[in-house]
Structure formats: structure tokens, C-alpha cells
């Protein structure tokens, strides 16, 4: 991971393909300005950990990237393609945002598996119905993915009969099934019992190791330090500090980050 971290901070980083770029992102809920101008770039293969206290805007930022929240202003560029926005920040072209969303797979805090479908049906749903992959092919791939996240044999089980950790691993399999160019993790372990966190982190760690592009909003500082090659600290809607994990965690500059790190440690 050290070499990856070094690569991220070195100048030749810029020659790698850009995956996600966020420019001057603002988001208000009514009078409450949650994001006050955030800039962020993730290249192919980057693992960007986004940390910050509650209400810092980290989840909102992630949700603005795939337009689950409508940004108030700013610019979102996914894989070199800018999302065309109306004046109010909503996507101007519904077809475009739907196409872009299929490249960004999201993993939610509350898993959000479709409860009326079995694990297998959850995993093949988007490939078959949105991406129009032949069903037999999608099923074969789904078996592979469920095996990979340690859920082989649970294909015909409904989500409600699984533990939180199993559901989240299934949700990761669902995300992998669309063969995403980047993955968005929104506090993937925050709703889990402590003893179940490890199994989900193991899966995410494997994905990071195989070079997947990921944006990871998390409260797991040790984990962020270990898997990320870039860490972003948000404070009250602004990026207070960012850099390689060794620097952000090992040598924090701002008092706020120092305070935050000592409070979560």
C-alpha cells in the first residue's frame, strides 16, 4: 500500500485516467449549507477515504456524485464525462445520469437489498434489466460473485434471513455485478454489530487490493489508513485537510483534524 500511496502523491498520478472529479460542489438543504465548495479528484485505482464528524457533509458529498442528492451548484465529471446540470443542479438529461449511474455502484449503510428478491435475484437484477446482459450469463456471474464474498449456497435466501454482515456482503456482490468503473461506499459498516464489521472490511480490502476505484465514507480510521491511498477530512462542508494516509493520520496539520482523530481513536 505504501507504493500506491507514493504513486498517488507523485506528479505522474495525473497521467492515470481520471475516474471521478468534483469541482466546487455546493449543497444546501433549505437554509442549511451542508457542502460549501468541495473539490475532489479520484483517478482509476484510487481508494479515497472520506472522514469527518457527523454533519460534516461526507455522506451528502458521496450522494451528490451519483445525484441521489441534487447538488446546489458545482460540477461533477465521471470518467471524463461531465454531468449536464440544470440551473437548479438537477441532471438535465435523465438518460445521461441513468447511464452514468450504472458505472457507479453504491453500497449503502443500510444495505438496501431488495427485500422481495433472493440474493441471486438481487445480484442479477441490474445486469439483466438495466444492462441487458443475457440472464444465463448474469446468473453464472452472480454465483461467482456470491462465492467470492463468502455467500455461496445462500443464493435462494431472502435478505431478511441474513445477518447484517451477510447482507452487506451481498450488497457488495450486487455492486460488483454491474462491473462498475468506481464504487461508492456510504459508511458500509456503520449499521453493523461490532463482530460483523471485520467480515465486510475483509471484502472491501480485497477489492482495494485488486485496484478498484473506490470512494469510501467511513468511521473506521484504522481501516482507512490501511486501504486508502488518499484521505480527505471534511469539516463543516469544506475539505479541511487531505493527503496520503500516513500524513493525514500520522502528522495532522489542523487543530480540528487533531481533535477529531483523538476523539475517534
Amino acid at each position: 500500500m505504501d507504493t500506491a500511496a507514493a504513486a498517488a502523491s507523485s506528479p505522474e498520478t495525473d497521467t492515470r485516467r481520471e475516474a471521478i472529479r468534483v469541482e466546487d460542489l455546493h449543497k444546501s438543504f433549505g437554509n442549511l449549507e451542508v457542502l460549501k465548495g468541495v473539490d475532489l479528484t479520484a483517478h482509476q485505482g484510487d481508494v479515497v477515504a472520506i472522514i469527518g464528524g457527523s454533519g460534516s457533509g461526507k455522506s451528502t458529498m458521496l450522494r451528490c456524485i451519483n445525484f441521489l442528492e441534487t447538488p446546489s451548484s458545482g460540477k461533477i465529471v465521471i470518467g471524463g464525462e461531465e454531468v449536464v446540470m440544470r440551473g437548479d443542479g438537477s441532471p438535465a438529461n435523465q438518460k445521461q445520469i441513468e447511464r452514468i449511474r450504472t458505472k457507479l455502484a453504491m453500497v449503502f449503510q443500510q444495505f438496501n437489498l431488495w427485500t422481495h428478491r433472493t440474493l441471486l435475484e438481487n445480484v442479477i437484477e441490474v445486469p439483466v434489466h438495466v444492462l441487458k446482459v443475457p440472464k444465463a450469463e448474469a446468473i453464472a456471474r452472480a454465483h461467482e460473485l456470491l462465492n467470492r464474498v463468502g455467500l455461496g449456497g445462500k443464493e435462494d435466501t431472502y435478505p431478511a434471513y441474513l445477518s447484517g454482515g451477510q447482507q452487506q456482503r451481498a450488497a457488495i456482490a450486487r455492486a460488483l455485478a454491474v462491473d462498475p468503473s468506481a464504487m461508492l461506499f456510504d459508511e458500509p459498516t456503520s449499521a453493523l454489530d461490532p463482530e460483523l464489521v471485520g467480515e465486510v472490511l475483509t471484502v472491501i480490502r480485497d477489492l482495494a487490493a485488486e485496484g478498484r476505484t473506490m470512494l469510501l465514507v467511513t468511521h473506521e480510521m484504522k481501516f482507512a489508513r490501511e486501504v486508502a491511498n488518499h484521505v480527505v477530512y471534511l469539516y463543516q462542508g469544506r475539505i479541511e485537510e487531505q493527503g496520503p494516509p500516513a500524513e493525514v493520520f500520522g502528522n495532522p496539520q489542523s487543530d480540528r483534524l487533531k481533535q477529531f482523530l483523538s476523539s475517534v481513536a
Binding site: E98, T102, L104, A105, F111, W114, H116, V130, Y158
Partner: protein
């Protein structure tokens, strides 16, 4: 045994209810009633689905119009609505027909019944389905959105299946109301079960026999519906642990 049978008048009743006689009329009335109930329930579901989506996601005008529709229909007694909708409806159709140079049109009783009761059912179904859609956890729909599903596909693949378990008990109620509301169509002279029963009873003076028989038929419809809806509900609740406890 035969004496008791005769004493209770059951022999006479059996004769009165024979299929070649008044009994056959009752069954034809039942078939008409069921036909209308099916049609009205189906039309009500379609209106209800559009109504629910319109109320939840529509613009201001759509929402206001739907609010007027559900409020008025649910405020006025069904019997009054049937009289209004039936006579106004047939009047309008005749006016249009005459304006286009045609003569008076014979209104098909079944079609009129389905239309009138369907409009009533639609108002209630709108509220049942609106409540069910609102009960779907927002994360289910967000997940679908975040994977690039278009709006109509989200409705078809996620929202409707996920809301079914919330909607089925209310819809089962509506279906039973539909079967019994068909009796109100007797006031516009439609030959459904209740009107057939009344005619048979007054012709033969065997009121008790015929109304008891009609009550029995309505009860059978309800019991069969209950069995069907129990299965539908079980299907709609697939994937949800039983409320009685015990995970599987």
C-alpha cells in the same frame, strides 16, 4: 326423516331453487354480480395506481384534481353515486350520440355497472395504494435509482412488488366491498344477484328461502375470496419473516 323434511318445507324449497327454475336465475344473477365486481375491481386498481402515483409525484394541478376526486367520491354514499353516475353517464352518451346524428343508445348494463363501481373503487384504491407506496422503505427505491434504473422500471421492478404486502389486506377489503356493492346496482334495474332474488321471492312469496339462498351465495363468494387472498398475501410477503415469530 321425510316427515321432518316436509315439515320444514325443505322439499318445496329445493323445488323452488332448482337450477331449471328460480335457482338458475339466482346463479345467473351471481355470475352478473361477479362479472361486474371483477371489472370494477380491476378498473379501480388501474385508476388507483395512477391516482396514487399522481398524488405522490404529480404536479400541483394533478394533486388537487385527485384530492377532489377521492374526497367527493368517498364523501357521497355509494347508492347516490350510482344513481348520479348511471343516469348522468347514460344521458351524456345519448346526448353525444344524438349530436352525432345517431339515435338513443341502449346502455349495456354490465359496462355501466363496471364503470360506475370502478370509479368508486378507484377512489378507495388510490388511498390504499398511496399508503402502501409510502410504506416502502426509501432505501429500496434509492438503491434502484443509484443503479441507473429508469423511473418506470423502478415502479415495475421495485416499488410495486415491494408495496404489495402493504396493499393486499386493503385491496382484499375493496374486493369484498365490490362484490357487495354490485347489489346496489339493483336500483338501476340491473339483473344482479339481489334483484334476481327479489324477483324470485316476490313471484313465489318464498322470501325466506330465496334471501337465505342469496345470503349463502354471498357468503361462498367471501369465503372463496378469503382463500385466494390468503395465498396472494403469502406470495406478496415472500422474503419477510413471519410476524408470529420463528425466523423461517
Amino acid at each position: 326423516m321425510t316427515g321432518l323434511f316436509e315439515l320444514l318445507g325443505l322439499g318445496a324449497s329445493a323445488e323452488l331453487l332448482s337450477l331449471s327454475g328460480w335457482g338458475g336465475n339466482l346463479l345467473r344473477g351471481l355470475a352478473n354480480s361477479l362479472q361486474i365486481a371483477f371489472g370494477a375491481f380491476g378498473l379501480g386498481l388501474v385508476i388507483g395506481l395512477f391516482g396514487a402515483y399522481g398524488k405522490l409525484y404529480g404536479g400541483k394541478v394533478t394533486r388537487d384534481l385527485l384530492a377532489i376526486y377521492t374526497t367527493v367520491i368517498r364523501a357521497v354514499p355509494e347508492l347516490v353515486l350510482i344513481l348520479i353516475l348511471y343516469y348522468v353517464g347514460s344521458d351524456i352518451i345519448n346526448k353525444i350520440s344524438e349530436a352525432m346524428g345517431g339515435g338513443r343508445v341502449e346502455i349495456n348494463g354490465v359496462a355501466a355497472g363496471i364503470w360506475v363501481l370502478g370509479v368508486v373503487q378507484g377512489a378507495y384504491a388510490t388511498e390504499v395504494l398511496r399508503g402502501a407506496i409510502k410504506a416502502v422503505p426509501v432505501g429500496q427505491i434509492e438503491a434502484a435509482k443509484s443503479y441507473g434504473m429508469p423511473a418506470f422500471m423502478i415502479m415495475r421492478r421495485v416499488t410495486i412488488p415491494a408495496m404489495m404486502s402493504f396493499a393486499v389486506p386493503g385491496l382484499a377489503n375493496l374486493w369484498l366491498i365490490a362484490t357487495k356493492d354490485t347489489a346496489l346496482l339493483a336500483v338501476v334495474g340491473f339483473n344482479e344477484l339481489t334483484l334476481e332474488t327479489r324477483q324470485a321471492a316476490s313471484s313465489t312469496r318464498a322470501y325466506f328461502t330465496f334471501f337465505l339462498a342469496a345470503g349463502f351465495l354471498y357468503l361462498m363468494v367471501t369465503l372463496c375470496s378469503g382463500a385466494v387472498f390468503a395465498r396472494v398475501e403469502k406470495w406478496a410477503r415472500r422474503g419477510q419473516p413471519s410476524l408470529k415469530g420463528g425466523a423461517r
